[in-house]
């Protein structure tokens, strides 16, 4: 049984430049204890999807146009703000990309850690403080008893991200949404933080939604993956399936275009062109103008995410119809 069920989510932004369809008909589900990765480039709608779930979209200009998100019998997208406040930070919490800007520089770590406990659980300040110290110890901060009284700037980037994780997990949430938690960190520190999230997830049985643009992190960390492009999920399957048997040309092209440590080769594969402008309505497949497999029909026919092979959903109409079986592109296009 799934813990969270998102259906037909559409989040639009009404700006002077037109309507930006940031998230356009996204559906997915998350089961208990599982790790779901959402990959995509900037502007693909991966963060907006998660912000919509927690009611963090600034309205206006943003608006959730349609959809529902069923979390334990409650529709997160259409419930009252007071109900959402009971969930946000307690049952679903979030870690952001940049730990420097998401911690309050004027508040001691202790006050920031204790705050969610005082809001969500009726505990005394001293009990909350003890719990905060314990939570810092759990994320591997040594000498937590004294360092809890420091300010964020007195911590390094990796340490701040540890504090963020402690803060997000202090109320034992059922879902943790991690929005590019390691992008701002060095690789050696990234390895530490990923290991820590994995460990804490195992201890607490939390489900994790992991937003990233790094396919390497996905491969090492997530069980299932949604690949997003221009506001839509284009492919959704287990991590192994996504990497071993890609069924959407965008996913395949993305994998072929990254220089990987273990592979050798001359020129890299490149995806021609740019991601589309989301202010104009795209009638057909949004990847068609850049796709090596596209035919005329792709530009007119609106794609839908469907199961083409068992437990593997793709939005590529040509793959669904069985016209192409391997979406990878052989041979490398020219350098420019």
């Amino acid at each position: 049984m799934s813990l969270l069920e998102v259906e037909n989510l559409r989040t639009y932004f009404y700006t002077r430049g037109g309507v930006i369809r940031a998230v356009n008909d996204v559906s997915f589900s998350l089961s208990r204890g599982e790790t779901l990765g959402i990959v995509g480039e900037s502007g693909s709608g991966k963060s907006v999807t998660c912000y919509s779930l927690l009611g963090l979209i600034p309205k206006p200009p943003g608006k959730i146009v349609s959809g529902c998100a069923n979390f334990d019998g409650l529709d997160l997208l259409n419930c009252r703000e007071s109900e959402l406040r009971q969930i946000r930070g307690k049952r679903i919490s979030m870690i952001f990309q940049d730990p420097m800007t998401s911690l309050n520089p004027y508040m001691r770590i202790s006050d920031q850690l204790v705050e969610p406990l005082l809001v969500h659980e009726k505990v005394s300040r001293s009990k909350a403080f003890a719990k905060a110290v314990a939570s810092l110890e759990e994320v591997g901060i040594q000498d937590a008893g004294s360092r809890i009284n420091l300010y964020p700037h007195q911590f390094s980037g990796g340490m701040r991200q540890r504090v963020m994780i402690a803060m997000a997990l202090i109320s034992r949430p059922e879902i943790l949404i991690a929005d590019e938690p390691t992008t701002a960190l060095d690789v050696t520190v990234q390895a530490q933080i990923l290991e820590l999230i994995k460990q804490r997830q195992k201890d607490l049985g939390t489900s994790v939604i992991f937003i990233t643009h790094d396919l390497g992190v996905v491969a090492s960390f997530c069980k299932d993956v949604n690949v997003m492009y221009a506001g839509r999920i284009v492919e959704s399957a287990s991590t192994d399936e996504i990497f071993v048997r890609p069924t959407h040309p965008y996913n395949a092209a993305l994998q072929q275009s990254i220089p990987a440590l273990h592979k050798k080769g001359e020129l890299l594969f490149t995806i021609p062109g740019l991601p589309p402008d989301l202010t104009s309505e795209i009638p057909g497949c949004s990847f068609a103008p850049r796709c090596a497999h596209a035919i005329e029909r792709c530009k007119d026919e609106s794609p839908s995410l469907q199961e083409a092979t068992p437990n593997h959903r793709t939005s590529c109409a040509r793959f669904q119809r069985g016209e192409i079986s391997d979406v990878r592109i052989s041979g490398v296009v020219s350098a420019l």
Binding site: T188, A191, G216, A219, H262, L267, I271, A335
Partner: protein, 326 residues
């Protein structure tokens, strides 16, 4: 034949001051602390390291964008650190730089034509049609339509702006280009376009390049040799494929094992070395080998003396006293 670019015991220390009335120096940040490098003509040297290890400072001191504390930068037999500022200006047509953020490195009030023609004029005094032709040719080289030369930077996307920045660096026909994280700000699908462009330009024009990045996969792809930096010093230098496949220095090993590979089958078989703690501060570097507090192979001798950078295998140098034993 001697090296094209030779960096000899280069040091850049930033003083730290205390007090306003009785201002005194209380210490220094040793951002670059004794670096020796030799680069051959047409070679691409990749420089990797974590943030704060001194990669960018090294680039800026080689480019003579900041005065050096000690050492020498010898380009084709001339010591750049000894000549006057005016002479460096004239010399600068031979070495150019590409910066990380194409949003910040292009002047928003100058059209592509203005930016590129100014850069061309540093080498050749062209006017009229000749310079328009030259700008168009440059734009074509980097894959931009020449009819867009009257546009401003904000009209272009991030990847296109980085192409403009590359065209500007190429305009004075330099022999050496230092690229400081040129693809870090770009999306994955755009990153590969720019990497291919840089690589083919280097091959065609026999450009020598120092390519700085924190992303080892990118550096391995583009460079002939890799130099690994830690806390202002080089810890290992060698051919790119060898460094990645068989790193010698414990820091390089940890760094490479920490990079996640985009293939779940490979990921399952890999063993990750997780380093303890953060990189130490360059204001107060540890004694002896700067890596010893985080190194799992460290012995007492590592705490005492700074290990020399010496040849451990043919073409491979590393600074670790325990390489033979581990």
């Amino acid at each position: 034949m001697s090296a094209f670019l030779e960096v000899d015991n280069l040091k850049k220390h930033f003083p730290i001051y205390r007090g306003t009335v009785f201002r005194r120096q209380v210490g220094s940040v040793k951002a670059v602390d004794g670096i020796d490098l030799e680069i051959k003509t047409g070679e691409i040297l990749g420089l990797v390291g974590e943030s704060g290890c001194g990669k960018s400072t090294l680039a800026r001191t080689i480019m003579q964008l900041m005065p050096i504390t000690d050492g020498a930068v010898v380009l084709e037999g001339r010591d750049l650190s000894k000549i006057s500022k005016r002479a460096i200006r004239a010399e600068r047509v031979n070495f150019q730089m590409i910066f990380q953020d194409p949003y910040a490195s292009l002047n928003p009030r100058m059209t592509v034509y203005d930016t590129l023609s100014e850069a061309i004029r540093t080498r050749q005094m062209l006017t009229g049609k000749a310079i328009v032709m030259k700008v168009a040719e440059l734009m074509k080289t980097v894959g931009l339509p020449a009819n867009q030369m009257r546009r401003y930077p904000h009209e272009f996307s991030g990847g296109q702006r980085q192409r403009i920045a590359i065209a500007r660096a190429l305009a004075p026909e330099p022999r050496l280009i230092i690229a400081d994280e040129p693809v870090s700000a770009l999306d994955v699908s755009i990153q590969s376009q720019i990497l291919n462009l840089i690589l083919s330009l280097c091959r065609e024009r026999e450009l020598t390049m120092i390519f700085i990045s924190h992303d080892i996969s990118v550096v391995k792809y583009i460079s002939d040799r890799i130099a690994v930096m830690y806390l202002g010093r080089l810890v290992e230098v060698g051919p790119a494929a060898q460094i990645v496949d068989r790193p010698l220095h414990p820091y390089t090993r940890a760094l490479i094992s920490a990079v996640p590979v985009p293939d779940p089958r490979v990921e399952r078989t890999r063993r990750r070395i997780i380093l303890e703690g953060d990189p130490p501060s360059p204001t107060n570097p540890p004694s002896g080998c700067p890596f010893h507090p985080r190194c799992s192979y460290a012995i007492d001798a590592c705490k005492e003396q700074r290990p020399p950078l010496e040849e451990k295998e043919p073409n491979r140098i590393a600074a670790c006293i325990r390489i033979g034993e581990i």
